[in-house]
Subunit: 156 residues, 2 copies
């Protein structure tokens, strides 16, 4: 718990550093066995990449460093509650613990859409602000059946 | 609508191509003004990157090609309903329309966690399978206040 606070303060420091370096006000780091594996601040505008949130960047970097897509024994520290995109990435990565300081309401007050997206995600696809259209009669290959039949595949 | 079907069939074709090339059974493309800007299949295992879903990869590629983090006039075609991570990325990118074929239930049957993550996302952070811990007394800098005070910033 003492270390949690130290690493979380570091995440906030990275966020402040992001503001100075033309990034966004979000910072994150990934720690494994009490060792920092990756650090990043939000770089969406800086790199023209809408997915370049601090959490996505540290997950990608930690996966690269550890050469695995499964970060089971890692903890993610983030200055702010992860948005739905980053939450999804956390689940896919297998990270088991996340510690954060500010939340989606704080982010909303600062002009970010985290809370709006959390609201949208629970709606039926057809009722969202973005048009989600499912075409079931497209006649394409049944790719999941092909996947099922594939031998020696690595699942996750 | 006719073009929607053509591009969606291409997304499924890319997914099938992914299976052949050691990727996952998901394909996506981004189209702007009837021109394909980016195509990708799921490369999570192939590249050791848990964020390398087809939709994330095409959003990153299209942003690179178009040199902007805002893909307002683009449509995303995906063989499967985007997972919460990719849905979040779609909102952040500003894409206004998404067309897909299979859904989260089909993905679940093929062994993927999309539906589980959709369920988790609506829960209170403290009630999820992954431990989400908020520390409010960490004493760090108020980075959102610093952000508010910043002049000439690019918001999104």
């Amino acid at each position: 718990m003492k270390n949690d606070k130290i690493y979380l303060l570091r995440a906030i420091e990275i966020a402040a550093n992001g503001i100075i370096h033309n990034g966004g006000p979000f910072g994150a780091l990934i720690v494994r066995n009490n060792k920092v594996i990756a650090e990043a601040f939000n770089s969406v505008v800086l790199t023209n990449d809408p997915t370049a949130h601090a959490e996505i960047l540290v997950i990608r970097e930690a996966s690269k460093v550890l050469q695995t897509h499964q970060l089971y024994d890692c903890t993610l520290y983030s200055s702010c509650e992860p948005c739905p995109m980053c939450l999804g990435a956390i689940y896919w990565s297998g990270i088991k613990k996340v510690v954060y300081a500010y939340d989606r309401t704080d982010a909303e007050k600062a002009g970010f859409s985290d809370k709006l997206i959390y609201g949208e995600i629970g709606l039926e696809p057809s009722k969202r602000k973005i048009s989600f259209i499912r075409l079931t009669d497209q006649g394409g290959a049944d790719v999941f059946r092909k996947w099922d039949e594939l031998e020696n595949k690595i699942t996750y």
